[in-house]
Symmetry: D2
Subunit: 278 residues, 4 copies
């Protein structure tokens, strides 16, 4: 049960978003130290598309300790980027190791996840076997989140992100239900190709984790009048967080892209011939 | 602001004390994840006197991540010992690194601390200069806790533990007050030579951190009727914790030794010619 | 390409075997720092059966840094045991993470490996699919070594260790050859159930890594006349190392058990209906 | 006994200098794995002045494992900078911890060191006491290298780098000789304020570690005709390394700055009233 933030818009220093706002991602981990909520101390990661290089792929910094005391994170946050992800992890059982930290990367794609597949051990093998054999050897860790990413890649993520995520969710539900898990999936997922960000939230049970897509930077400015850097951002800038700040419908997804963001209803797509329903 | 536990008595597996009781040290770190209290996720350490070796010095396992997810800690806790320390750390500013984790060791002596010297940076140099020059080069970290240990060693810890700790506390107060810090010291300290355990609590301001010296194992059995291993312990077994479980007087110290434990009033000893008072 | 040591016999402190001998495992890593040979700095692990506990399963300490500078390893080596493994890792490509460090454990069984499956990425999926589905979810890392262990478990390790390892080797060769890898397997493997130790060496190409099974403790005493603790060992004590000290036949395995050790010829067992040959 | 590289010139990706050249810093650590020379596996660090930020201070990434297997280093090396340091560490005794890794930083200044103060434990206290009391509390680690940096800061580094380093070297020699260490100092040091880089080499005994100041980028191009990025560099670009590539006089220092680099003779400055000589 983790938390994440996705930023897209006017290039800023990562530190301005990750550390400076009163309710920043790292601040949330600090607040949780004060007893307000669950500690996310089982690793962290940031991924960003470097400005001013020819590299299309994102760079990713991950480590296994808490974000709140990591000095390398504070240093690297002095990087400027117009599209980046940040994630803090609370393990639901799998090992605390580098390869289990988000965001995950494949080529120019990045993926991060908050949530879980209930009773994942039961279905881990069946889900892994459905991954494209050409991709299987790239799985490095042992999390449900990474397998979900590889399933989405298998089901056509580069061509049709919403469709691929819908097919992933449908396949996870069908598989888990065949193993007797009734409401297997809770997720808020963010995925990007370096140009657009797709954000999804969904729960098999109908009780979704919160997802906040800021449709206008005006809203952010109104929420954080004290955060001066917000005033310098273009109107297209968006911040998406896996946090209970908003009041979106429970099953939804958003796209953030140059020109603005839109919100859609999310439905899993089930494999043909199955009667599974979320 | 850390927490610690000291065990002395019938040899047991460390895991029985560190992991199994409902309110074990690690359990406290787990509970804190649930939002009950401050997270102690900035490192941990255990120190024990190995049974069945000729070694008089304690072995110490320390690491910089949270105790709750550390697999090596769980493994090494399958060690049996009749005297051991456990500590979980919440940094008050100094680096999260191996040499800043407790317990600290010098020969057969171990030391651990919960609390702080307020505005430590102001007095760090003066305190370090007072350390016996023959010991100075053994300081490896940057915490107030380690310097307090080296001051106690300098002031005669092996010969007179209560006196050495009193002189250390008095010196810290005098030094800090000369730099304008009015109530500089809060501490619960445990120190051992492998045979006896001394536990101290003291606050310059008169508001001490809690310290619980279980004067009888009966009390523990009554507190934890569900913990079966307590029934197998000798009556001399003691558990001392830096936790608000007891109602001891605010400035006190205890000694745990074969034959039983006793409790005394603690007073700092100030350097001659100073008017400092706690 | 790693190195390992297996000890079985009179209970000793781990440090006596791991650190004190002139050509100890850690000493080999130190020598390699001096330029004599390949550095094994990509993690390490030790596994031991604790004396004086009811626990039948081994305890395992692993970490991702070099063994030569790890303080926790030095501390925990003050443990006494009559059967333990030690391993230092040099990654051949897979991630440097806790779950990729040896020894691996399943219940009371431990496994460690020096060598590699050539072009492992090509066969990783096929090998993983052959693992017993009930065990698949326990795979935590991404190494060939761990998959080899799980295949041996799948093929009957607890009932027939030499047979299970032979079937594992045969299956790996058959699978890899079907993907076009001609000489896929090099291995020296040690495996134990806490009572006996089996050690195997094999190479598809017929050029085996060295494996030294000390059939008599006399031989060790003669090799290391300076190592005083060897004089205190029972005649049944054995030390097996993955090092070029001996002149055993290239395809062989040994069993070390109370009463002495024996050496056999090792042949892979190929799946029926395949023409594969090592 | 470490190694380092300092780059000043046309902004490049750190990876182009740290990873790509055939004899890059990381390549040296890889070669050392092949047995050519001493392993530098006890930590690493890079420091760079971020482009395109208002921040005058350098960012620093450091970690305690080997550079050759560190994934975060590979990721962060996709940063572009016109002035950066890289360092790989081989501990001569002090702890392997974050705060002992180079480069060290104070404000906009960075410092890195290859070499050692012989018998450092004897003089550690005397050297630390000579550090400006206002700076003492910023010492975080336990190395000779960090104390040398703080002494140079104390002796006027910002105003007069060559003079401050000379006074530091003289003070170290005088102090160590008063403790009976005849030839205490070996060093190759690089220090920068973000605009210029000063590089020093000196040995009390007259046998200096090598230091190569590339006075012309032409020389580099000639040495590495295969490294294409060298062709894109301005003529002012310089690379300074702590390696035996050159044939400079044994006691020397160089300055690299916009406009070119110059080389001088280095002499320690001894405290008045002492007869110490290097």
């Amino acid at each position: 049960m983790c938390r994440w933030i996705a930023y897209s818009g006017t290039p800023v220093l990562l530190s301005q978003v990750l550390f400076q706002p009163e309710h920043s991602l790292i601040d949330q981990s600090l607040h949780s130290r004060m007893g307000v909520e669950t500690t996310n101390g089982d690793g962290f990661g940031i991924g960003w598309y470097p400005e001013d290089t020819e590299m299309a792929d994102p760079a990713v910094l991950r480590d296994v300790g808490p974000a709140w005391n990591d000095r390398n994170l504070q240093e690297v946050a002095h990087t400027r980027s117009g599209l980046f992800f940040g994630h803090i992890r609370a393990s639901t059982g799998s090992a605390v190791q580098h390869s289990n930290c988000h965001p995950f990367r494949s080529g120019r794609w990045m993926w991060m996840h908050n949530g879980m597949i209930s009773e994942f051990r039961r279905v881990r093998r069946d889900l892994a076997l459905a991954v494209d054999p050409a991709l299987y050897a790239d799985i490095e860790g042992s999390t449900d989140s990474e397998v979900m990413f590889f399933l989405a890649l298998t089901f056509g993520l580069p061509e049709d992100p919403p469709g691929a995520v819908a097919r992933m969710a449908g396949f996870v539900e069908t598989t888990a239900q065949s193993h007797g898990t009734r409401h297997p999936l809770q997720m808020t997922v963010a995925v990007t190709d370096g140009e657009r960000v797709w954000a999804f939230r969904y729960s098999s049970e109908g009780r979704s984790r919160s997802l906040y897509v800021s449709t206008k930077v005006d809203a952010l400015r109104a929420l954080h009048p004290d955060v001066s850097f917000l005033r310098e951002l273009s109107d297209e800038t968006r911040l998406v967080v896996s946090e209970p700040l908003g009041d979106l419908p429970g099953r939804s997804y958003g796209v953030v892209q140059p020109g603005g963001g839109v919100l859609h209803r999310f439905r899993p797509e089930y494999p043909e011939g199955t009667g599974a329903r979320g």
